[in-house]
């Protein structure tokens, strides 16, 4: 019996050493596992959150559109229009046909819109936010580029310029 207990003790020692080695190797690896397990969905959300928090989309003239170009894109229906503002502002008023991909709730909104967006990574996309100095559209655009969307541009005039021009708007949660 004592011999058996000693054998069990030795197995426990091996298990503890294996745990220590496992954590040590994990710490030294390039992509260490977090101590608390995350489901694939949680990891995807975390990845999206990191993406949208990354340095924003570089603003160059060929990556931005002015009001006229934006207006024709909205009327043409061949471009996906994304509103990067928080949902509360989207519900108060947005550009007709625009989908809400809020920068502050990017992971959740992206997961909701992925079935619409992902099938065609080359479809033109224009992102807008409030306008003026807002960065939400640039951050969302940067994240979309990182996710593989190839034709992403930003309407820098944003909601302020669109609504000030007296162009049509829509209220509520629907595009």
């Amino acid at each position: 019996m004592i011999r058996f207990a000693r054998d069990i003790g030795a197995v426990i020692v091996i298990a503890i050493v294996a745990l220590g080695v496992g954590f040590g190797v994990n710490r030294m690896s390039a992509n260490p596992l977090p101590t608390m397990y995350q489901t694939p969905e949680q990891r995807f959300d975390a990845q999206l959150t990191r993406l949208v928090a990354a340095p924003p989309f570089p603003i160059t003239p060929n990556l931005t559109v002015n009001l006229d170009e934006f207006h024709s894109a909205v009327s043409g229906h061949s471009t996906t229009i994304l509103d990067a503002r928080p949902s509360v502002f989207y519900e108060r008023g947005h550009v007709p046909g625009a989908l809400n991909l809020a920068r502050d709730d990017f992971a959740k909104d992206y997961s909701r819109l992925a079935p619409v967006l992902k099938p065609d990574l080359d479809k033109p996309i224009i992102v807008y936010c409030a306008g003026g100095e807002c960065h939400d559209s640039k951050m969302v655009a940067g994240a979309l580029l990182a996710l593989g969307f190839s034709k992403v541009r930003v309407f820098t005039g944003g909601w302020d310029e669109w609504s000030a021009a007296g162009l049509p708007t829509v209220k509520g949660t629907a595009p």
């Binding site: 011999r3 294996a18 745990l19 080695v21 954590f23 190797v25 596992l33 608390m36 397990y37």
Partner: protein, 169 residues
């Protein structure tokens, strides 16, 4: 008298031959077990994240224990495999292998009973399949039986030699 001695010698020879045969079988089986567990451990180390997902798929362990299990188990398997290779540590290694295979049998059996279709991650990453789960359950039962019989044989042998030493003293 002479014929009695000859009979004794023949008996000893037969016993030695049987003993050698048992030793060779034990060594061969131990090397096979060692190879299986070292291979299984190395395969799991190559992709710890996938192995953690596999463990979580069984929905048995609390979330806090999934990563520690995913990190420790491969090294435990490798250590047990290596320790199977030396006669001094074989008994403990066989017990370690019997314990983890018993654990795998319970996990796979319960997953099959609950109707889950998983990739158990036993020998690296694969597609989820119930056929594979049944095959791996069968393999685990064989590995459990073999490792337990090695342990019991070595355990009883060590008990007997300890008793002989006590008598001689």
């Amino acid at each position: 008298m002479v014929s009695g001695r000859i009979a004794d010698r023949q008996g000893n020879c037969t016993m030695n031959r049987e003993g050698n045969l048992h030793s060779y079988t034990l060594i061969t089986v131990s090397v096979i077990l060692a190879a299986i567990f070292i291979y299984a451990g190395v395969e799991k180390i190559r992709s710890p994240l996938d192995f953690a997902d596999n463990i979580q798929g069984f929905a048995i362990l609390p979330l806090a224990l999934v990563v520690p299990m995913a990190l420790a188990l491969p090294f435990f398997e490798i250590a047990s495999g290596l320790l199977m290779l030396t006669p001094w540590t074989r008994r403990v290694a066989a017990l370690g292998i019997a314990i983890i295979t018993a654990m795998f049998i319970v996990a796979l059996g319960s997953a099959l009973a609950r109707g889950l279709t998983l990739d158990c991650g036993c020998f690296g990453v694969g597609a989820p399949s119930r056929t594979r789960m049944w095959a791996e359950l069968g393999l685990d039962i064989v590995l459990f039986a073999v490792s337990l019989s090695i342990y019991l044989r070595l355990f009883i042998g060590s008990q007997a030699s300890a008793a002989n030493n006590a008598l001689a003293a």
